[in-house]
């Protein structure tokens, strides 16, 4: 059995882990995986899917870089009777065009993070700074929306500064530095919400270098649950993270196997758990469990 996998790229550790796990899962099941790296470009992904179709693969996994613009290529796949499974992000095409989508609800992730913060600060006044993901990317938009929904009930919590950190550590650190400068050397900041762990890790360094204690002086909550954030949590420098599992391929392959065996239609959306981890959830152990997954 041959399955084509059109991956977005390798722009973050999380995505590298997803690629690694997908390969592992395929190997375990004896599937021949055709891997294509699109380097963050939708046009490359579309071209890759077309090539998969031309080659006559049995199924296609697609981690779409953006939600829109997949109709015609998905139609082509359908005409060629090749099932397509979406990984970790959604598309806005008609659901009949793909078999199923495996992923988490990005808005929900942000909401979980927001609710954690509401619980953590109690009724205290809290000025929050936000590190956004890449401007225009769907995780950045959805995680922002979700977080705002999460804190919408609490009037004591207010987002005072919000800037993009491009999902990277370096930018996370640089932007955090300017937040600290702008907010009275950090004294006026109560919490940081970062759209991914990498930016949070960068920001933690900036906070430490400014002479403050991350995790205590400034609460830190972020999303993804990559190994390094657990290390920071174990050191008491980060407070909470929401897991986005990189093992999207497992459920996808299961659904495909069932469909191929007897035509079982899976549900249209297989949602992975958005689990919240805090300092109480054995961060050191979590780190050990994850550090070899290719993050």
């Amino acid at each position: 059995q041959t399955v084509g996998f059109s991956q977005i790229g390798s722009e973050s550790g999380w995505r590298a882990a997803e690629t690694t796990l997908t390969r592992q899962q395929a190997e375990e099941r004896g599937i021949d995986l055709k891997f294509s790296d699109a380097q963050q470009k939708q046009e490359n992904q579309i071209a890759a899917i077309r090539s998969f179709i031309a080659q006559g693969v049995d199924a296609i996994l697609l981690a779409p870089v953006v939600a829109t613009g997949w109709d015609s290529v998905l139609e082509e796949a359908q005409e060629a009777e090749i099932p397509v499974v979406l990984l970790d992000r959604q598309v806005d095409s008609d659901p009949s065009l793909y078999l199923t989508a495996v992923g988490s609800d990005l808005v929900h992730e942000g909401e979980v993070a927001g609710q954690w913060l509401v619980d953590a600060v109690g009724g205290k006044e809290c000025r929050v700074v936000e590190l956004q993901g890449t401007t225009g990317s769907s995780p950045a938009i959805d995680r922002k929306t979700g977080f705002e929904q999460g804190i919408s009930g609490a009037d004591n919590i207010e987002i005072v500064r919000s800037q993009t950190g491009d999902f990277t550590r370096a930018q996370g650190k640089e932007v955090m530095e300017s937040f600290l400068q702008a907010e009275g050397g950090g004294a006026d900041i109560c919490a940081l919400y970062a759209h991914n762990d990498d930016m949070a890790v960068g920001a933690i360094q900036a906070i430490k270098e400014a002479g403050l204690k991350p995790g205590e002086d400034i609460l830190i909550v972020s999303i993804d649950a990559v190994p390094d954030i657990f290390q920071a949590m174990a050191a008491g420098e980060a407070n909470a993270t929401v897991e986005l599992t990189p093992n999207m391929a497992g459920p996808a392959f299961d659904a495909l196997a069932a469909y191929m065996a007897d035509g079982t239609e899976p549900e249209k959306f297989i949602q992975t758990e958005s689990k919240l981890y805090t300092q109480d959830d054995d961060p050191a152990g979590e780190y050990e469990r994850r550090k070899d997954l290719g993050y």
Binding site: A16, R161, D166, V175, S178, V201, Q205, G211, D228, G294
Partner: protein, 341 residues
Amino acid sequence: MTLLRRVAPQLLTLVALVALVSFFFPGFLRVEMVDGRLVGPVMDILKRGAPVGLLAVGMTLVIATRGIDLSVGTTMAITGAVAAWSITQGYGLGPALALALLTGVAAGLWNGVLVAVLGIQPIVATLILMTSGRGIAQLVTEGRILTFSHEGLAFFGSGAVLGIPTPAWLWVLTAGGVALLMRRSALGMLIEAVGVNRAASALAGVNATVLLIAVYIASGLCAALAGIVATADIRGADANNAGLWLELDAILAVVIGGNSLLGGRFSIIASVLGALIIQTVDTGILLAGFPSEYNLVIKAALVLIILVVQSPNMSHHWHLLRRSALARRETAMQAAREQGK
């Protein structure tokens, strides 16, 4: 004196920018002593400006030879990855730095040979390393962010000497050192000669090939330094994002520094002032607190204004405008006078 005259436009721009940012963010020029080091937005700019400042030094030399080096951002990623990898392998600080610098030399040598020996045009030659180099960096880090906790290496990113951040020292010393080397030896003139007319220079016995390769190696070395700073800064090598698109900032810095992309006369000091201008814009945007989606437009507009104001033709146009305005006024006055008669 002549140096001051050369960099006057850049200095004036910087002053104007500082005034502009201070308007949006009043505390901009505040500097305090905390834990024996100076902190404040200005210090941040000096520190954050290090990668582009370092890249601009090498880029100035490359551009002086009528070339361009698009690969510096990628080279940063590779050298940073090499540094982090060697540290995590336990090689110690010295060897890690040496390996990273050597990698920079190798990258420069590759570009230099493609340009000077094989005669591939600089944009394309360096584009090859630009696209494939990130793959090499990822090969080193295996696609993950390679973190380390070696304080010695981290010192190059977040340490301070005499209260001033290490990266600031690094770029100031590099720029000063290279500028001095260029003017105290004959290198500056020979590089300019090759940039203006390679054929004529070669006929006059200038070893253009070696000089070109050397210039790309210098650029690779500067990129290696920048890569070390970037990696040390976040205590990890981020092969995907380290130095991403920084080559464009570096080229911008060189041009804002008043250097011609057509090669020839160059000033390293002006280039690093250009880098400082860019960093001031970047930090200023962050401090001013506009929504992220405006960042690009603001930066583009500011850069355009700076370039337009500084462009040599502009003074010419001003001159003409003034002259025609004067002439118009004169004819108007003459007409008025005649009416008065």
